[in-house]
Structures are given as C-alpha cells and as structure tokens.
Amino acid sequence: MAKSKQDLEKSSDKNENEIALRETEGLSQGQIIRRRFFRHKGAMASLVVLLGMFLFVFSASGIHLGSAKQPINIAGWWPHSFKEIDPEAALKNVCSNGITGCPTLDILPSFIDGTGIKIGDHPLGTDILGTDYLALVTRGAEQSILVMLIVGFLGVTLGTAIGAVAGFYGGVVDAILMRVTDMFLVTPTLVIGAVIGFRFGNLGVVPLALMLGFFAWMGLARFVRTEFLTLREREFVDAARVAGASDRRIIFKHILPNAIGIIIVSGTLLMSGAILTESALSYLGFGVRLPDVSLGLLVSQYQDTFNVSPWMFWWPGFFIITIALSINFIGDGLRDAFDPRQRRRISAKERASAKEAKGRA
C-alpha cells in the first residue's frame, strides 16, 4: 500500500515537472517571472485593489505637494476639502442615536431596509465641525501612500547601494559598513521614528517620510549583501572579470539583475512596514499633526467615540489595512515569482489534460 502510494507520488512528481517545464520552454527569465506573478491570484487581485485605491484617493482629494510656503495643489473631483468647516453640514444628517454628521452612504438596496442605495452628500459622514469625513480619510490615505512610496524608494536605494558595496568589495569596507548597519539596526524603528517625528512631524509628511526612509534601509542592506557575497563567487562573475569588465559593469550588469528578486521582495515588505510605522507614529502623536490629518491620527482621535460613531473608527482602519494587506500579497506573489525552486500547483484538470495529450501522442 505504502509503496504504491510512493510510486504514484513519484510519477505525479515527474508529470508535474514535465508540465512545468513545457510551459517555460523558450521563455526568457523575465517572461517566466512575469507569468508566475500574473498567475498568483491573490497578488493580482491585490494589485487591482491597490491601483484602484491609488486612483480613487489621488483623484478624489487631488495632489498636495510642496512646502507650506509654496504649495503645489491640484484639486480633485471630490467637492469637499479636509480643511473645510461647515457646522450646518454636521447638523443636516443626524443618526437615529442622535449623533450629528451621520454617514449618508447606504449600500443596502431597498428590498432589505426599504431606503434604497444612495451615496448622499457626505457618504462617510462629517466630524463635529462639519468637515467631510471622506475628504479627511482620503487625505489621510494620500499621506500614508506618499510616506510608503518615499520610504520604500529611499530604503531600497540606500539599502541596495550599501549592501551591494559591502557584499561586492568585502574586507574592511564590508566590516565598516556592516557595523554601521548594526548601529542603525539596534535602534528600534519606532524609537527613531518617534524622535524624528517629534521634530519633523509638524513640517508635513514629506520631510517626515524622507527622514523615516533614511532609517529604513538596514534590513534590505543585509539581504542584498548576503546575496552579493554568494553571487560574486559565481563563475559568470569570474568570466566577466576575465573578459575585462569593470567593477561597475559587473555590479550593475551581472550581479544586480540576479539579486533583483530579493530587492523587490524586501522592498514591498519595507513599504507595508512603512505604512504601519507612519500610522503608529501619528497615532502616538509623533507623526503627522493637526490640522493636517493622517490615518493613524484619525484612529487615535475617534477611538474613544467608538460606541457612538463607529464609522469614524472603521474607515481609517479599513484604508490602512487594505493598503498594507494588498502590498503584503503583492510581495508574496513576487516572492513566489522570483523563487526558482517554487513549483506551481498543477491542478488535477491540467494533469489529466497532459496525460490525454501524452496518450494521443
């Protein structure tokens, strides 16, 4: 019994390998990776959700960049701004429990509660001053996304550069760079973030993100270094060197493309971490401050009124979680795509059709 089961396993192993091999015949490495990624349902769904959210957030609230003195503002399509104060709007919609600024969004169709689907003028309600909550939340999400992108970009660039140099040159350079990395690494992110946020939080989100990014490269640098250490011993690097390639060429043309997988994967993790760090800092009061808003700040403001106006608490949380979750799934998809040992699950249907094709041949 046991033997026959093992035999079966072996033959199915072989079949799966054949199916997987035939699929990748004649494709470049990039094509294979892209295919694997596109097949990861969770990652693809997350990509769609994330892009949809980016589009929604930035088109609704517009784009606000630049400093306080020279702002660059492009207005979005949503009529209310997060700075707008309109006490009458809050009084217009009152919930059944007497809370003003009730959300006008109603997604239950009329055959369930009899009121029908409508969006209304303040779908997520308003706060006590009458500021539209959708405007507040999209503004917060905009800030979070900005932080995430900046921290991700800075962290990946710095981490790759430092890790690559340390791993490629080794020796004294490596020792010094790695001790510096350790020095940054022993400092808890939140501690550094809090110190930075305390100083730079009131300057707006971009300086905060720049500073956070400056302290976010260590994990990635370590990964890249390890990757470079193993890659530089490989034959193709020796071959390139014998052929007279410069260090720069070897790093950029020969090693870096091979290490790109680990860079991209750790980069996505870095980004999902960044969004959580930023919201935690703002929650603690060390990040983005009033009158500007961020998702963490909104959660901290409305956590005590959870009983009476739960939507004020749910929505910012929903945005944080959706963004972080999507990024994590995309990262997972990328990891699977870049992992050469990763074998896709061959479904029973595919196995059957492969068998049939074999039988016909």
């Binding site: 046991a2 969770g42 808890p188 992110t189 100083r199 959660v299 944080i320």
Partner: protein
C-alpha cells in the same frame, strides 16, 4: 583542544568588543538626534512668570544645556562607563528620580506582557504554520495564509480598540446575564466544527464526520456552560482535569513516539492518571497561603511520580518513556492550576474592587483590591492574568502571523531536502519523517528569531503599553519624549540597544550549539 578553546575565547572577546562599539555608536547617534530635536526650554516660550530668566538659567545649568550635545553625550557616558566597575549611573530624570530606579520598576511589567504574548504566539503560530506546510495548498492553508497576511497588516492600536470593545466591554455586559443565544450557539458550533475538520483533514467523508461531530459537541458544551452559569462560577473539576490530562497524554505520545508504541503510551497515561488522582490531595498544597514555591512543589510532585513510574514501565527505551511521561505531567498539571485560579473567580468578580466587570481595559493590576485579596497568591495571580488578557491578545494576534509564515516556509524548505527523501525511502513512518527529520530542522532558524523577538520587546510594546496604560518601558519612552527627558530617553534606549546586540550574540552562539553544520563550516 586548547587551540579550539582559545579560538572560541578570542571569538567571544571580539564579539563583545564589537557589541560595545555598536552600542556606543548607536547611543551617540540617538543622543544627538534627541538632543537636537527636543527643546526643554520650549515650555518657557509662553511662560510669563517674572522669574522666567532665572528659571531658564536654572534649567540650563541643571541639564547642562550650555554644553553642545556631542560633548554632553560624554558627560552622560561617564556614568555608564562607571557601570564597568559597578557604579552604573544613568543620571536623573526630570522629576529628580534616578533613571535606574524608573527602569527597574518598568522592566518587569514589560517583560510580563511580552513573554506571555510571545509564548502564546510561538505555540499557536508554529503549530498552525507547520500544519499549513504539511497540508500545503489545502483549503486550510489558503485560509490561514489569508488570515496571517491580514493580521500582519493590522495596526496594533486599531486591534486594541476593537478588543477593548468586544472582548472587555461587551463581555462584561454579557456577564450580567450570561445566557448564550441560540444563533450564537449554532454559529460557534459551525465555526468550531469547520476549524477542527479542516485541521484534521483527510478524505471528504472524514471531513464531514469530524465537522458534524465537533459542531454538535461544541454546541452541547456551550449549552452546558450557558445552563450551568459556568461564566460566573467557572471551574474544570476533576473530570475536566482528567480529560485534559489524558488528552495531553495521547497528543504527546502521538507526536513524540506514535500511538503504536504501547510502552510510552502506558507511561504517558499513567502520568495523566497521577495528575487526575492527585486532584484532591494537591488542593491541600494550593491553599490560600501558598506562593510561587507551592506551584513548583506541585509540579515536582506530579512530574517526579510520573517519571518514577515511567522508569519502571520498561527497560527498553527508558529515556523516551520518561521524557513522554514528564512532558505529559507538565502539560497535565497546568489545567490543575487553571482550575485552582477559577475557584477564586466567583469571589474575585463580586468583590468591591471588581464589581462584576472582571475583564479590565486599562492598567496592569487592580489597585483597589483589598489587602487580604492582594495577600492571597491565587487572587492576585488571577487579577494579573485578567489584566494580561487584552494586551496579550493584541500582541499575540499581531506577532502570531509572523511565526505562521516563518514556520510554514521553513518546514516547506526542509521537506524539499534530500535527507527527507532518504528518510521516506528508508520506509520510516510519515510521523517520524515529519517530526524527527522535518520539524527539528525546520525549527533551527527559529532560535535566531526568538531571541531577537525578546530583545525587540521595548520597541514592540510602545504602542500596546500606551493603549492599555501599562507602566512599562514603552510608557517610560513616551514620557521621556513628551517631557524632553534626555536621561530617561537614553536609559531606555541604551537598555534596548544593549539587549538587541546581546540577543544577536546569544542567537549566534545558540545556533552553533543546536546546528553542528554551522560550526563545521566555520
């Protein structure tokens, strides 16, 4: 041999030196960052007191603000270096307390919080991670993957608010009239059945029979709990302790030697029998005057007797039998303690300090407890545990996901190794292959993660402590930032930095001990 020892000694010395250098560098950086970014004189900006200048000068001289931060760092460092010959001085806080005293008060509180949640997260995370790896691509795997990603993406402060509402406030309200409604009963049963059935897996028929059995069992159990007012007067009783003990006996035997090994099953079940039979006699040891020593004594008694019996079960495989019996006795005694704690619950809940709302949302102990209650080991432990529930749940939920992902990936990687194929080819049972050859190797890298997690305590607990108002290291840190207390900040920082480098060092050493391959390569 001597050369090897010398090399090891040199290695340790080099690492220690490097550690000191790293902590020095990091603390220098942090000191300057904090000194530049905070301004203790800011409080005077809106001060209109007549002696404002005097006060400012006083503060400047007290905090040495006239010395530039890089130099001031060395003034601070002098006290730390004095620690080398036993006169550690981290300076004074702004309220003129020694920083060391504040930290000494805060650290046990933080550790209690973090150790509880880390242990829970590890046990749950590794178990579920390994099951998902064994059942890769199953429905259970997909669901757990999604859940762990979801937990990974949750902000802890957001979870904390939900826990406070649903686990504490609503549950306390529920306790006023603790009867479970029918829809909840059915829903609970279905969920429990679904989870158990997907955990056990197997053929479709087995899935449905397990599902049906567990669903009905869970509904019945909950109904019983609801009808007997169990939430007000909880307890396990000798029957419950027995069920737990024999359950553990079967589980431990199954994992460690397999149920077909009758000798170790005998050893394990006799350990369970000892715990069950000892239920009433051991109550005498766990009286109201007991202390932590009594707990140890109970454990020594149950484990000692179990080990003794296991010794006489058979000459062959004596060590395995004793090991199985000892683990069973250890696990089986835990419900005994739980039962003892539960016996105090009724009185604890109705006491004035608690006034029928037993799940607290804030703080680490109930200060209102009467002296008599505080003196009773079981009541004060129960109080501590009740306060631990919410923050532990929050931290566990967040860190659990990491362990699931980690152990799943690790086991999957190990199961692809050649030696697993060899083990299968030798005809070993699947249990032996997975437990002995797979899990053991998969757990090796865990040492690193585990040690680092304990070291990351302070950073990790900042938010949780804030939300639940625990007066631990995280709160000290918050306080230091808000009051521009540089000495306090540095005290917390240096401790956390030192713990981190120490943890890295210990992890490297430990890894060499548990994994001989590392040593050979070196």
């Amino acid at each position: 041999m001597a050369a090897v020892r010398l090399a090891l000694f040199a290695y340790i010395a080099r690492r220690l030196g490097m550690m000191l250098l790293i902590v020095f560098g990091a603390s220098f950086m942090a000191y300057n960052l904090e000194a530049i970014s905070s301004n203790p004189l800011q409080a005077f900006a809106e001060n209109t007191a007549k002696n404002k200048t005097y006060l400012m000068h006083q503060l400047i001289s007290q905090l040495n603000l006239d010395v530039p931060p890089p130099l001031r760092y060395f003034m601070w460092l002098r006290g730390v270096v004095a620690g080398l010959w036993g006169h550690l001085d981290l300076g004074m806080t702004r309220d003129h307390q020694p920083v060391l005293d504040s930290i000494a008060l805060a650290i046990p509180i933080t550790f209690r919080l973090v150790i509880a949640s880390t242990i829970l997260a590890i046990i749950l995370g590794i178990t579920i991670g390994m099951i998902t790896a064994i059942r890769q691509y199953s429905r259970f795997d997909y669901v757990m993957t999604f859940i762990s990603f979801l937990l990974f993406s949750l902000p802890v402060f957001w979870v904390a608010v939900l826990l406070k509402q649903y686990l504490a406030i609503d549950f306390n309200n529920f306790l006023e009239k603790p009867s479970i409604s029918l829809p909840f009963l059915i829903g609970f049963g279905l969920v429990a059945g679904l989870i158990m059935a997907s955990l056990i897996g197997g053929s479709r028929r087995r899935f449905y029979s397990v599902f049906l059995g567990v669903t009905l069992g869970a509904i019945g159990l909950m109904k019983l709990i609801s009808d007997t007012n169990w939430f007000i007067h909880p307890g396990i009783g000798i029957i419950g302790v027995g069920i737990f003990a024999f359950g553990f006996a079967i589980l431990v035997t199954q994992i460690s030697t397999g149920l077909e090994n009758r000798k170790s099953l005998t050893a394990a079940t006799s350990a369970a029998a000892i715990v069950t039979v000892g239920y009433y006699p051991l109550q005498l040891l766990m009286n109201s005057k007991s202390s932590f020593l009594n707990i140890l004594l109970v454990l020594v008694i149950t484990m000692g007797l179990s080990g003794l019996i296991a010794y006489f079960v058979d000459k062959i495989d004596r060590r395995t039998n004793i090991r199985t019996a000892l683990i069973t006795a250890l696990l089986g005694t835990l419900p005994l303690f739980l039962d003892r704690l539960m016996q105090e619950f009724g009185g604890y809940m109705t006491s004035d300090a608690v006034s029928n709302r037993p799940v607290p949302t804030l703080g680490q102990v109930n200060d209102l407890l009467s002296d008599q209650q505080k003196a009773n080991f079981w009541v004060s432990s129960l109080d501590g545990i009740m306060h631990l529930i919410l923050p532990t749940a929050a931290l566990t939920l967040i860190s659990f996901a990491g362990y699931v992902r980690f152990s799943r990936g690790s086991l999957l990687e190990v199961l692809n190794m050649d030696y697993i194929r060899t083990a299968r080819a030798k005809g070993l049972t699947e249990r032996t292959v997975i437990v002995r050859h797979g899990m053991r190797n998969a757990l090796l890298p865990l040492t690193t993660i585990l040690v680092n997690d304990f070291a990351g305590v302070i950073g990790g607990a900042i938010i949780t402590e804030g939300v639940f108002q625990w007066k631990g290291m995280g709160q000290l840190f918050n306080q230091s930032l808000n009051t521009y207390d540089l000495n306090l900040f540095m005290g917390v920082f240096v401790l956390s930095a030192f713990l981190t480098v120490l943890a890295n060092f210990v992890a490297d050493l430990l890894y060499g001990v548990v994994d001989p391959r590392i040593r050979i390569r070196k």
